[in-house]
Symmetry: C2
Subunit: 209 residues, 2 copies
């Protein structure tokens, strides 16, 4: 695999994965890049270029095998294995994520939720224990956690991220409304939900002109 | 304003807005494109090009006025006005969105939540009434709703989107795990939360090699 795959290509891979999963569920076995192009609203030469970044899986005139292309993309994305996850913050976002069924189905196993609120500590959310933030550091010493989901208030996010990283977590999925920083050997994906709403507003305006 | 602003530029605008809002809150009055470049991890010539798409607001050697650039970007995004919003689906995602404080602060006013579950209809979530899905069509005839947030199961999403559009809604923010289609005079922003988690997994893998 080429190590210099551009972020734009990487960010399109989940779209391929979703599209191929839907085809697979519908029993489709082979797909041409021109059919993919229509179905995904991407141009066919871009699709061929994207897939070539990863070695190319098509055969001229035969298209792609849906199942093997899907498997390859899962492998490239690293979603063909299990991840241990903790959620920090049991507010509305933390709870919604704790209840999200697909995570477990896709191998993201939520091991615990951490909170500072003594009314919540000791309870369970969707059968996952809520533990005290004071115990996070110790917890990370004994448990092998790969991903931390930050669903804390803005002010706490960076401190919690630091504790997670120090405890061996290498991936942070951050829902707090502030970009957190991590060292080079870790990775953070900052979620800015409202950005989509702003873009929506932009296009709603434009549609009126 | 140029009508042909590329989607890539439009999708960067919320990032400028957030950055400028943070500067403004910190009391910063002027900012150079090179300082913005550092702060936003974007290259300075790209920042100048982006802002030029909208007529340019900088003065050579003086940089940009934070407040007026922020105002301009809010205006361009169309987030300097009020929108009436309904949420469809009062499950975990619908609830989390109903509780999200920033929406109201930013002019996205949630007027009602709709659900099919008779145990939820008639109750309130964060002081917003939960109404019956059966009443959505009638409701849209009397209320002027701009944006519908879809937080329904996958199978219901397209049908609900059709009802919303028929009722005069022009923007749909879709959290259901399926891309919904809307006519040309409306706009949809499909949210794929898990995509960020997949991209995170990709980079976590890459970091290990």
């Amino acid at each position: 695999m080429d190590e210099k795959i551009s972020e734009a290509v990487v960010r399109r891979l989940p779209k391929y994965y979703r599209y191929l999963s839907d085809l697979d569920a519908l029993g489709v076995e082979r797909i041409s890049s021109s059919a993919m192009s229509k179905g995904m609203s991407l141009n066919a030469s871009q699709i061929r270029r994207d897939l070539n970044c990863f070695g190319g899986f098509g055969q001229q005139g035969y298209g792609y095998s849906v199942k093997s292309l899907k498997q390859e993309i899962m492998h490239i994305l690293g979603i063909d294995k299990a991840y241990h996850v903790v959620i920090i913050g049991s507010g509305n976002i933390g709870q919604a994520l704790a209840f999200y069924k697909n995570f477990a189905l896709e191998g993201y196993i939520i091991k615990a939720i951490f909170d500072v609120d003594s009314n919540r500590i000791g309870k369970k959310i969707n059968n996952i224990e809520v533990l005290s933030m004071n115990d996070l550091e110790t917890y990370l010493k004994t448990e092998n956690i790969h991903i931390g989901i930050l669903a804390t208030p803005k002010g706490a996010a960076q401190d919690v991220a630091d504790i997670l990283i120090k405890g061996g977590v290498t991936g942070i999925w951050n829902f707090a409304p502030i970009d957190v920083k991590v060292p080079d050997n870790a990775y953070v994906e900052n979620v800015h939900l409202s950005d989509g709403l702003y873009v929506l507003s932009y296009y709603m305006q434009r549609g009126r002109f």
